[in-house]
């Protein structure tokens, strides 16, 4: 088990629940989803409870994340896109905190499950489609017909645009999922080298120094990846929402 890099992704039922043949058990993954939501919500709530005019360090973190996401959304979707701010902020904070929590030893990485990232990506694309049609009606379909192309090319371009639109939820979810999965497997493999090499006595211990250094370096890199993937997810969400707000490019 110590050297199995896949073991960390196994889902363990903590409270078995079954409704109509569906397995809805409360698992370790569920626990970390709840932990992510509660920890983030509690942090944002408690750090701002004093409503300090001059913010403390923790209140600054909350305010900076607020302004960070707000400026990201305003830059890509304009002030009309600000109605989606709670959604983008929730997605960003949820993914970020889930990624970061996953870096603790023995903690479950919620975002290493394709179904979770795919559900979040579908939420984004679903919001884009529903809002786009509600707001613009069939004018939303102008999204697939960029202005200023020769009439001959229109069918080809429309096909390409539709394919690229449909691949968005896939790329959005697989990017996050694959990054978290690969990072954690790499980390586990290098850490596994350390323990298996040091089992071979003194020479093995010396040989284990390199994988140990790699493990430390990759841990640092994973913190960067955790933030970066949350940021990428949020930025792409903003750009897709921009299509819903302003369909004609």
């Amino acid at each position: 088990m110590a050297n199995d890099p896949i073991h960390q992704f196994h889902i363990a039922k903590w409270i078995p629940i079954e409704v109509g043949g569906l397995d809805l058990s409360f698992t370790n993954a569920s626990a970390f989803m709840v932990a992510t939501a509660v920890a983030t919500g509690a942090f944002l709530y408690m750090t701002t409870s004093s409503r300090g005019l001059v913010p403390g360090r923790l209140q600054s973190i909350s305010e900076m994340s607020y302004e960070f996401v707000a400026s990201m959304l305003r830059d890509s979707a304009g002030s009309k896109g600000m109605k989606f701010f709670p959604l983008v902020f929730s997605l960003f904070m949820f993914v970020l905190v889930a990624n970061l929590l996953g870096l603790f030893p023995y903690f479950y990485t919620v975002t290493s499950q394709i179904i979770v990232t795919f559900a979040l990506a579908l939420l984004v694309i679903g919001t884009v489609i529903v809002y786009g049609f509600l707001k613009h009606g069939f004018g939303f379909l102008k999204l697939f017909v960029p202005s200023g192309i020769p009439a001959m090319l229109v069918p080809l371009v429309v096909i390409i645009e539709v394919i690229s639109f449909l691949s968005r939820p896939v790329s959005l979810s697989v990017r996050l999922f694959a990054n978290m999965l690969a990072g954690h497997i790499t980390l586990k493999v290098f850490a596994g080298f350390v323990t298996s090499l040091s089992a071979f006595g003194a020479i093995g211990v010396v040989g284990a120094i390199l994988p140990l250094l790699m493990t430390v370096a990759i841990t640092g890199l994973e913190f960067l990846v955790a933030f970066l993937q949350a940021y990428v997810f949020a930025v792409l969400t903003c750009m897709y929402l921009n299509d819903a707000v302003h369909p004609g490019h």
Partner: protein
């Protein structure tokens, strides 16, 4: 396969997962070899708990946390704007005070100059008047003196004639002997003087 054999050999479950894990291993016996993220039997549970946790998280942020942070930022922005306004107002007041002070200073200077000019003008005029008075007095005295000199000169000149007559008659008396008529001597003197 490295993965599956390693998993099968697993004897001790991870501490965080505890006793529940052995039960799971038993229950998921059928899907033992499936890569966990692709194990569809866990999808329903994951989707449900994601919907619950993310849904509540979204509602909490939307209705409680974000309005609060937004409110804090807005209050701060208003406060800063208000402070800047106040600073601008105070600066304007200070500028007005400086301007008023400078104006007063300029007025006072102008007033002082006016008073100085007036005083010097008055003094000049007085001096001029006095000078004219004195000059007029001097002119008068000069005229009087010239008149007196003319009088004296005239009387002296008339005295010269008498002296010349007397001298002439005396010279004639002593040279010729006898007397000379006073009128004759006078006529001779007069002729000689012309």
């Amino acid at each position: 396969m490295f993965v599956t054999t390693a998993y099968a050999q697993e004897a001790t479950p991870a501490p965080a997962e505890g006793a529940a894990h052995t039960e799971v291993a038993a229950e998921h016996g059928a899907t033992q070899g499936v890569f966990p993220p692709f194990d569809t039997s866990t999808y329903a549970s994951q989707l449900l708990w994601l919907a619950i946790s993310f849904g509540l998280f979204y509602l909490f942020l939307k209705n409680v946390a974000l309005p609060r942070i937004g409110g804090i930022l807005e209050v701060r922005r208003d406060r800063i704007a208000q402070d800047l306004d106040q600073a601008a107002r105070m600066k304007a007041e200070a500028d007005a005070a400086v301007a008023a002070y400078e104006q007063e200073l300029a007025e006072a200077k102008a007033k002082a100059n006016a008073i100085g000019n007036e005083a010097s003008n008055v003094a000049k005029a007085e001096a001029e008047a006095k000078r004219k008075e004195v000059e007029a007095g001097l002119d008068q005295k000069l005229a009087a003196a010239e008149e007196r000199i003319a009088g004296i000169k005239a009387s002296a000149m008339s005295g010269v004639g008498a002296i010349a007559e007397e001298t002439a008659s005396a010279i004639v008396e002593s040279l010729v002997g006898g007397t000379v008529e006073r009128s004759e001597a006078a006529a001779a003197v007069k002729a000689a003087a012309e």
